[in-house]
Amino acid sequence: MTTQDERDQVLERIEQWKLRPSRLTDDVITMAHGAGGKASQSLTEAVFKAAYGGPQLDRLDDGAVLDIPSGSRVVVTTDAFVVTPRRFPGGSLGDLAVNGTVNDLAVMGATPKWLTVSAVLEEGLPIDELRDIVGDVASAAGAVGVEIVAGDTKVVERGAADGCYLTTTGVGLVAAEQRLGAEHVEPGDVVLVSGTIGDHGMAVMLARGDLALEADISSDTAPIHSATAALLDAVPSTRWMRDPTRGGLASACNELSVAASLGVSLFEDALPVKPPVSGACELLGLDPLYVANEGKFVAVVPADTVDVALDALRSTPVAAEAVAVGEINDEHPGMVVAHTPFGGSRIVDMLVGAPLPRIC
């Protein structure tokens, strides 16, 4: 026979236990972590909030409320990240998920402010690996100074996804007077690239390990917002910017030539390519112009501002090797033409399908 007092003590203990923060004791992701119950909660607390919690995220509301300064305009972008392998020389899935979205905001002329992170996890993913990925997200976001304000986690059955996919949505602010766009590009303008091309794509291709090729190539994944800001500061008349990710510089220039109805001329001997990257491309029959970048951007500026623009870019570490690589003309609208060092020329077209290595 228990006394009322003893019963109260038991109830009190249960109450205390319920208030205790949930602990994550599992080693791998199970379907339970996506079911919305205690396991989901403990994963959110112990992994996501522990890595990048903040005043907005910690409220765990259904949405984040953002304060926008008056006179600013908002830029929104979203991107999914499914890279294999998830860790490669120079970076990781977590780095890419932040830098990729930050860079999309940056080339729109925006200051990156907020991010949301949505994760699709495959049943069986080791939680230690997830912690590493999420840790990379947190440190990349910290390096840029963006706040992660919302997130979501879903778990799918083994085989329905490949480990971990991340989707990030970025929100940035852009000054009311900022005007960037292909419609502002004019014949005679100059095309700049913020550094060497092809590093990311080749690093990932080699890291997959099925090429039996070894080369000292690291991904260039990095946030470029400081360089885009420096350029816009020094050359407010900058016409257009783009980060040449999938499809590389060739695709970015093709998109520009079509959008602006102007021609783009690229000078092959001016294109900055690291020797190991150009060597690996040569061996595989790939063209570095089509290989992905994750920490570079291409900008078009008026011809009389090139020196100022390059000085501004080179003052930032991420664009220290910026160079002029081409110019805009009205001779072949909608077409990108590369000029070879000895006076030949060729069309640089959009890539059809995936870049497949040639046989011989």
């Binding site: 040569e282 595989l284 072949h332 060092p341 030949g344 060729r346 077209d349």
Partner: protein, 375 residues
């Protein structure tokens, strides 16, 4: 990148362009066929056509191994790939080649296990790693790639790998060159001989071109300076009234070829009585099959293969393009029904194919011909 950059040297290239200009000056128009798809690719990739005088025309030959595979053989490969438990391994550019109905890329999307490899040895390694699967390597290519297939077959036999086989589509370079020389309306003035194939077979097998047909042939490398020098050597022969087999690619190609590789080819392969070439039809003794000693590793012996011949699409003029009878853009469907996204003929599929190379790199010339500088 050493060993490449010096063969892209602008100064050397300009000197050769000037030499070509003066050699062609006052001579009748010349048509040279580059046999090899690698040359076609390099010619467009580096804009070499835009640098040649108007009187010197490059005709793109049948040397793209992907382009000459007939549709029926692609259908056979797809049928093999679709067998339960089979893993089909192939080179990247075979994935998009259209068969009669679909491609290996579509077969993969529909659930077939098709994997891109970079060497036949990678396919053998997959077979050893996954003993529960039947791994088939889709072998294509001229004498350039055939030795690596032969080595793989020998290693499979040595190591007793029983779940590995080869679907052999290797072809040889001399019979199609001969077929082109014998075709009616042939109007070539010389050949830029293939570089990579010649590293294996040497330059002697081409001697009939000079001896029997009275045409010059220069085996050349794949960099811009190589190709320009090869063209200059052809023009010089014609100016001197000579017709010989010459070797521009001496840094790699020996006259007798690679005797070790040739010996391995002899040990593993036998010559098929005839083989169908896309656009060129059946050519006698133009392809290789695994010989009887390697029957256990021959996919054609181990599996039921439909082997249905599929006629080339009527509208497609790949054959005329491959023979050099018409230029890519003169084909009825070029750039309209047949594009790199929706290729009808295989010349449009591989980036080495004459049509795809022209579509990707060469269109500019047709629109605004750049004046030839002889600086």
């Amino acid at each position: 990148m050493k060993f490449v950059t010096e063969f892209r040297d602008p100064v050397a290239a300009r000197a050769l362009i000037a030499e070509i200009g003066s050699l062609a000056d006052g001579q009748p128009p010349r048509k040279f066929m580059e046999v090899c798809g690698g040359h076609t690719h390099a010619i467009y990739r580096h804009g070499i056509e835009t640098l040649l005088p108007e009187s010197v025309e490059m005709v793109h030959g049948p040397g793209c191994p992907v382009c000459v595979i007939p549709m029926g053989r692609i259908d056979d490969a797809i049928a093999l790939a679709s067998i339960d438990g089979v893993t089909m391994c192939c080179f990247g550019d075979m994935m998009r080649v259209p068969g009669g109905k679909s491609t290996l890329l579509e077969a993969k999307a529909n659930g077939a296990d098709v994997r891109v490899v970079y060497s036949p040895l990678d396919a053998l390694a997959i077979a050893e790693r996954e003993p529960g699967r039947e791994v088939i390597f889709l072998a294509v290519g001229f004498e350039t790639t055939a030795p690596s297939t032969a080595v793989t077959a020998m290693q499979a036999r040595e190591r007793g790998v029983s779940n590995f086989s080869i679907f052999c589509n290797h072809v040889t370079i001399v019979p199609p060159v001969k077929a082109i020389l014998d075709s009616p309306g042939m109007s070539l003035d010389g050949f830029l001989g293939p570089g990579h194939v010649s590293t294996v077979i040497g330059t002697r097998p081409y001697e009939f071109v000079a001896r029997d047909y009275g045409l010059p042939l220069v085996t050349a490398g794949f960099e811009p300076v190589d190709i320009l020098q090869g063209v200059a050597m052809l023009l010089r022969q014609l100016a001197d009234g000579r017709c010989e087999v010459e070797n521009q690619y001496k840094r790699v190609v020996r006259d007798a070829g690679n005797t070790a590789a040739l010996e391995i080819l002899g040990q593993v392969f036998s010559i098929r009585p005839h083989f169908e070439w896309r656009g060129l039809g059946f050519i006698a003794q133009s392809a290789l099959a695994l010989n009887d000693q390697f029957a256990a590793w021959d996919a054609e012996q181990r599996f039921e293969i439909p082997g249905v011949r599929v006629a080339d699409p009527k509208a497609c003029q790949c054959g005329e393009v491959l023979k050099g009878a018409i230029r890519p853009w003169e084909c009825k469907v070029f750039g309209s029904a047949c594009t790199p996204e929706t290729p009808i003929g295989t010349c449009m599929v591989s980036s080495e194919g004459a049509c795809a190379a022209y579509f990707n790199y060469g269109r500019f010339r047709a629109r605004t011909r750049i004046p030839v500088t002889s600086a």
